[in-house]
Symmetry: C2
């Protein structure tokens, strides 16, 4: 082995050892149904061509997706079989250099959004082990969130690739149906299932999704990605009516409001849309005849093993699937007619909008809450996810901060083949901006304005501080003012300034380079709102000239130095 | 009224009177369920803006499609309702200037391919009243074939817009599902139904189909036409394997072979394809759970009126529809999975071909034959039509000559949205060519060759007659030879000539202008095949020089006049 090859192999080996050490450290045995032997993974990782796009990355695979040589259980030992070839999605990722660490736990037969419906154990949330991971892709989401793997594969029929993303602070990419072939995937609802990706960041999740895409000549429902990617100059973000956001967990409505504000801050238009047709469609997935597709998939197995219900077969899942034996084909056609009408109404409601923004799920129950009401607790969780596949929509779940220390997530959903458009919106959202009030040398016609532009800043509008601020001319080069709040002194009329919007990263660099005595703090504007803005260390204004009566730095400079500096 | 307007109105009036006189003359009362009053049609026709694209055209509407003010029965009086608005398809044609004459008979609830399943009477074929019209769009096809209307609307779920076209020597356009909205159409199988057009000629049928196209904001299954129109330089026509053409009516296999030869004569490539997946999909339509969609559509009506079965409700139709109550939704999902697999296999089989060419149907039974075996006789008829809608394909039925004096038709079927491509292929087919053997002044280097080129002819190849022909130098200007068959004299070695291919219309003009003593007849070639070729009136060779020993006109001219022509 050459020295370079040895170094690469060492890097790959270190990554594998890190993963297995972390598996031991986190002590979450319920995450895995089959964990590969460390040495086997080590050998495979060391042999990967380092020029491949996913070389060096480790991933986990939900145990309803085939990996050659490992059993596929769909979380039922009685159902297990040992595939001799990889699922198409897995084969493409391995060909791209990624290495499988193991097969992960799930709500049995991918039936559930909770992650507790498995004889292999309820999967505990990565952030709070008293709470559910979300499901059905429970183990995959948790493995990714705990940093064991670089990404993980799930599946999504009614939200199984998005709800656990939201509850574990992950990106969850649910591609348009058919873009990723389902060859080698145990069907839940065959015509609604999608292979999905969990990753901490958007770029990796999208890269993995792209690498899995394209017909394989084997899945009859596979489709070419039309790859609609262009965004309008001003995207229009649809959000549900206020009444359609009722019943969220405490604090989640505010968190959603903040996410909406972030889209507004990006300059996007936000419009309220009545999404009743979508919510009604969501209800059809379990209440109507569509559940019969679950019976068509695994009903015969459960029927033949009724003695195992409560043991190897989860009672809640078995009851749901067996319920699918009852509806008639004529009822299904009637439901499909209702669904077609709801889909059309939904498209009309969303016409002219770029994507629908919703919370990803509605609450984050504890394991105990789900155990007390397995069906009711679950059914609340799919309100915003259930309709996407039924109505042939693409969707992406992205983290949107924390509420009471637990992850909160939002979701962008759009028509089939708008996956890249949704990703672009999510990328802008995930890279937030900061609005900064400037009152001196950074104003548009002042000497330091170029620093804002270099940091990616754009001018938003003129703004004036509240009337209890005073402005001082500091002894700096170049000359700068110092803005100081004087609450006892309410009558200055406020100081003129400008609001600039900077990408958070650019803003961070800008602040880090700030020279004393300048400082960044909070400034209250004339309209009462608070923004980030320039202030100054208090010592610097001692003895400085009070120029408040000029009303702003620009006027002061014009009056005292005879013109624009 | 201006004189011009009066003249136009007179023209419109004459057209309406012609139609009603013809209705009386043909004495086919079973064609109509509701015939409008002559005066009402007259008034409407006279008021049409003559600049509209369909101004002056009369049409008939299958009685499962709404026309405001006329009852819609779907061929069941017990089901009748009176719509207050036109179906979208009808509204668009009326807006384009066409005028409805009446509503036509059909196999009840559009369930059948025979045209006999109606309490309004079995519809007799336009060409032979002892035979079936074909169905379910029986009255519309017959009205168009009898020349009563300029075109007629049908619907097609399993072949109802194509089988009657074939049996009545009409073009039948079955657009891609969803291109023409189904708003105002009584569903047969809601997700499989298409509005179709019958017309004597391709251009009118396509014009009407285009005028009906485009989403209407009301039918959730309506789709934008992707309008794939480009043809490859050499289209590849797929035909079924010989075994898949077995069981055709006497003479129909040869008629189909001639149609295939016409495509070959156009320069198209013809390839045999195993269409077993398509034929298996066809069988699913009635044998599987898909029939439940008929129950979802009208099952409740039949269930509630079981006392009318045998009276207002056709017993065969009632039995088929009520059979749709039985299948479970899970069985339907299983059938859908089979269908998806068959569709994928069919796409693979047809990959690289431009369209599939088949007979439209398999036989043309008498009314008595259908009465004796209503289900069996019917089920034979849909072999090549049943799969198109299930597999989301476009199709067009075109006349392809006659067998024993009755129409024979073929069908071009292709992927969704290839409607225009199929129409272009059909247009080339409908404008056939003639291969002509020339042996004298029309050879490539001879003085009259320009006549062939002017008629649209193209050189195909050198060819030699059988060895029992003699050639004479005639006394004409310019000099021409006369080709004469002398069966008693088998040893001449044959006469050299050229095969030229002319469009039939161009050939007709060419023949009509032919000067005596030249004639066009049949010439047998050295390979034993017969072609159309030049011959000569027998009197003209009396006393003419026998130049057979030269082996051909060109050699004779070179040897006797010292050079070309």
């Amino acid at each position: 082995m050459s020295r370079a090859a040895a170094a690469r192999a060492d890097g790959a080996a270190a990554r594998v050892h890190d993963a297995y050490d972390r598996i031991d450290a986190v002590d979450r045995p319920e995450v895995w149904i089959t964990l590969r032997d460390r040495d086997a993974v080590l050998a495979e990782a060391e042999a990967v061509d380092p020029t491949l796009p996913l070389a060096g990355l480790l991933f986990a695979v939900k145990d309803n997706i085939d990996v050659a040589g490992l059993p596929t259980t769909a979380a039922a030992r009685s159902y297990a079989y040992e595939p001799t070839v990889d699922a198409t999605a897995v084969a493409r990722l391995r060909a791209a250099g990624a290495v499988v660490v193991g097969k992960t736990n799930l709500d049995q037969f991918a039936t559930g959004l909770v992650g507790t419906r498995s004889p292999f154990g309820a999967v505990r949330n990565a952030w709070d082990p008293s709470r559910i991971s979300g499901g059905s892709s429970s183990g995959s989401a948790t493995a990714a969130a705990l940093g064991i793997v670089d990404f993980a594969l799930g599946t999504d029929t009614a939200g199984s690739g998005r709800v656990p993303a939201a509850l574990n602070h992950l990106v969850g990419v649910k591609p348009t149906k058919g873009i990723v072939p389902n060859t080698g995937v145990v069907p839940a609802c065959r015509s609604q299932d999608c292979v999905t990706v969990f990753a901490p960041g958007l770029d990796r999740a999208r890269t993995v999704a792209e690498l899995m895409a394209g017909p394989d000549g084997r899945d009859p429902l596979a489709r070419e990605d039309l790859a609609l990617a262009d965004l309008p100059a001003v995207p229009r973000i649809a959000i549900p009516l206020p009444a359609q956001l009722e019943g969220l967990a405490p604090g989640w409505a505010d968190a959603f409001g903040s996410a909406v504000d972030r889209f507004r801050a990006l300059g996007h238009e936000v419009v309220e849309v009545d999404i009743a047709p979508l919510l009604d469609a969501a209800a059809l997935l379990y209440d109507g005849a569509f559940v019969a597709e679950r019976y068509a998939a695994v009903g015969a197995h459960i029927d033949a093993h009724r003695d195992l219900v409560g043991d190897d077969l989860d009672p809640t899942v078995a009851a749901i699937v067996l319920g699918g034996a009852t509806p008639t084909a004529a009822e299904l056609f009637a439901d499909q007619e209702r669904l077609d009408a709801l889909g059309a109404a939904g498209r009309i409601a969303l016409e002219g909008t770029t994507a629908l923004l919703t919370p990803t799920t509605t609450w984050h129950p504890t394991l105990a809450e789900v155990a007390a009401d397995p069906v009711g607790a679950n059914s609340r969780m799919g309100r915003y996810t259930n309709f996407a596949n039924l109505l042939d929509m693409a969707s992406i779940a992205v983290p949107a901060g924390f509420v009471d220390g637990l992850p909160f997530g939002v979701m962008l959903t759009g028509p089939a083949f708008t996956d890249r458009r949704l990703a672009a919106l999510a990328a802008a959202f995930a890279a937030p901006t900061v609005d900064l009030l400037v009152v001196g040398a950074h104003l548009r016609d002042q000497p330091l304005n170029g620093q804002l532009v270099a940091a990616g800043g754009t001018f938003v509008r003129e703004a004036r501080t509240a009337s209890d601020y005073r402005l001082y001319a500091l002894d700096t080069v170049p000359p700068k003012p110092g803005l100081v709040r004087t609450p006892s002194d309410a009558g200055t009329g406020g100081i003129a300034g400008e609001l600039w919007r900077l990408p958070a990263a650019g803003f961070g660099t800008f602040v880090a380079a700030l020279p004393a005595p300048m400082a960044i703090g909070t400034v209250t504007l004339a309209d009462g709102s608070d923004v980030t803005g320039f202030t100054v260390e208090s010592h610097a204004v001692e003895g400085a000239e009070d120029i408040t009566h000029h009303g702003g730095w620009r006027t002061y400079r014009e009056h005292t130095v005879g013109g624009r500096s």
